[in-house]
Symmetry: C2
Subunit: 439 residues, 2 copies
């Protein structure tokens, strides 16, 4: 436990926009399951709020401290307890970093498929609590699709095990799914059994530059219409290319105003890549040739840079998802909104899933910047919803997106969720004020 000022400050917020800043009373590092149980029993007795925290890389404020809370860090529970290559299953503590599990699995020709761009720093526990997506979930699915069983400590300190070690199982209600994505509001995840997948024998990477973002987006649809399922299908707009150029000294923006990065994998990777190249060239894309080393380097760049932008900018990254057919129209709408509200815009997208991360920004020095930023954000959400989309494809509601949830979900559903929350956490000590709107 640490109650020192610098530590409390360091653990006060994740990487999401902060609405009202609060420092925790203390930071507690769990060393094991019994420790977590003891903390929750104490918190229940004293009515103290508990904010679970993995690596704090969340971008929705799910791990923000709230007034009078303690932060329960799981980062030191970071052992891979089992990795069984025949069962194709791993059992890990919540604080294991995604990349560490993948490195261990790779020794057996296996991988843990869900790979958020933060995979080198975020924890499996945090990934589960947010139901994280990632680059290759276009083909392999999101975190939920790889989680078989969970060990969860409930608000009163009770330890339960949900799910099963087998690939399939339908005994009882799907509690595993219910805890996945619940952002620390229903229980603390203290153990995770995941299914591993086969490391592909081969991957082929394609980079295609386009004159504009809508054409690149139509490339995503065209690959789908050719009935090819890439493992990765990322879209970067011109402003993102310019930001990468600034950070890495590259000259990408000169080559087009949009970049599509596609990776096919497995035994059919080469044949799939042929089809993809043909389809994208047909749309006027400047397409990398077979075996392009640059294309692979660009995927690495995309993976490892979130383009954090400049200190003198006020910016918010979004996480909407839209049905695939709405992609082209939506990216055009985003550009229109940015111009109308006079805010900067940069877009990267897990385009294969219709999941977009537009970032809007204004200069901090500009008068009325915050208002214009909020107006652009609100409009981007409203338009995504009107197209049949969602306010959050993978980052979670956390604290920041609470205000938009009632625009997506009907009151009856919100009520049901509140009642679920009360069932699991009657005293309301688990990450209060996050994930679902309060009464």
């Amino acid at each position: 436990m640490d109650t020192s000022v610098p530590v409390r400050a360091a653990y006060a917020a994740d990487q999401g926009p902060v609405l009202d800043y609060a420092e925790p009373l203390a930071v507690v590092w769990a060393k094991g399951i019994e420790g977590v149980q003891a903390v929750l029993r104490w918190a229940s007795e004293t009515g103290t709020a508990v904010v679970a925290r993995g690596a704090g890389t969340g971008v929705s404020g799910g791990a923000h401290a709230t007034a009078g809370c303690i932060v329960l860090s799981l980062e030191r529970m970071n052992r891979i307890l089992e990795l069984n290559p025949l069962d194709e299953v791993a059992v890990v503590e919540p604080g294991v970093v995604n990349a560490d599990l993948n490195a261990a699995a790779a020794e057996h020709g296996l991988m843990y498929a869900p790979d958020p761009a933060s995979y080198r720093i975020s924890t499996i526990g945090g990934n589960v609590a947010t139901n994280a997506g990632g680059l290759r979930c276009a083909k392999y699915g999101v975190t939920r699709d790889s989680v078989l069983a969970l060990d969860v400590v409930l608000a009163d300190g009770t330890l339960i095990r949900t799910g099963q070690r087998t690939f399939k199982g339908v005994a009882g209600y799907d509690l595993t799914g219910l805890f996945t994505g619940s952002e620390g509001t229903l229980g603390i995840v203290v153990g995770i059994t995941v299914r591993l997948r086969y490391l592909p024998v081969r991957t082929c990477t394609i980079a295609a530059f386009f004159p504009d973002v809508p054409t690149a987006a139509s490339g995503v649809l065209a690959v789908g219409t050719a009935r090819v399922q890439p493992a990765i299908m990322e879209l970067l707009d011109g402003a993102t290319l310019a930001a990468l150029d600034a950070a890495h000294g590259s000259a990408l923006a000169a080559r087009g105003n949009a970049l599509l990065l596609i990776q096919t994998d497995g035994f059919g990777a080469a044949a799939e890549a042929d089809v993809v190249r043909e389809v994208l060239a047909g749309l006027g894309g400047t397409v990398s040739t077979e075996g392009s080393v640059e294309a692979e380097r660009l995927v690495d760049l995309r993976r490892h840079s979130r383009g954090s932008g400049l200190a003198e900018q006020l910016r918010v990254g979004e996480d909407v998802a839209v049905p695939r057919s709405a992609l082209v129209g939506y990216v055009a709408e985003l550009e229109r909104m940015a111009a109308a509200h006079r805010v900067g815009l940069r877009v990267v997208a897990h385009a294969g899933d219709g999941n977009l991360h537009p970032t809007f920004w204004v200069g901090t020095a500009e008068g009325g910047g915050q208002q214009r930023l909020d107006a652009a954000l609100d409009e981007s959400i409203a338009v995504a919803l009107s197209l049949g989309g969602t306010i959050t494809g993978e980052h979670g509601v956390g604290q920041y997106k609470l205000r938009w949830l009632p625009a997506e979900q009907q009151e009856e559903v919100l009520v049901l969720q509140r009642r679920l929350k009360s069932l699991f956490d009657p005293a309301g000590i688990l990450n209060p004020g996050k994930a679902i709107p309060g009464v």
Copy 2:
């Protein structure tokens, strides 16, 4: 509505073992969502139990009538409301038969992946309510993995929409997952939005006969160790081959005491099939050659025949799943148990998922047959659990497997499930006595 004796009898049970027979007061066919809402409002007011029913192909007694209930059939709500090939999404009423959706999707080069062997007769609503598996879920996942959103009528008649139309979405708790597999005990599914997948450009089918079941099971592991992910990986034992021979005049049993049927698909299908054939031949299997027409015919046979057995037999089919590494040992154990309890045994397995369907049987004329049958069943469950398995991989708990659930799930989990049930259905009118053990 129909209250005639023959109709009530026809809708009294699904295809699962009947524990205590009851006829419904009436059978009601829903024509639309409002009708379902009206029925549930009436049922709530009168305290009448409602048993939802799709095609009645369930094998766990989930759709069995209970004393004083009405059966609410969804089979006439069978329209495909939308099939959007660009979004790769379909919206269907619950009574749509799985094969009909697949036929409609195929016109666009798409498929609805989850394909229970009953796909030509079972409904999507029933598939959702049981979280059905199937043959190709080895690669494409179970029903849950293809369901994006649900329209559900709650016990009090309220209509809610869960999930989203996009491939990814993490807004709010995962109610879609909670309803999926809940066997009509939490709400009535009246609309389903599913994700479609690409029809593979190519499939390659391999049939391999083995001298015994454990060797065939070790073939499943060996294909995995070669890091090839088949779409289908089915195992049939000698008794199943003999039953197929009897039904179809084939001569399969003469060729081996176990058959492995494997299908690879997609752009890499041929290359994957090469690896599979090599691996299986290395284990001593008699492996079909490339492009074997017989191999494809055998998969069809497997799909379309459940080997229902003889009238003078008392038999129960099981649905355990075990971790993959336990497959070989478990099939050997099953044979030992059958001999020890002097009961007949026949095994088919979705072996890629470690999901086995052993069928035990005794002659109805034999004294003490029922006791020996029950003893064999109980032991097969106990052994599967001791290996880290589950009592039900895909068929659901229904009515028949209730007695085994407490052996798999701890009391705290059972209590949570009961509380979830009360939250959604305080009066207990939705399929009472199914899926989770009562108090």
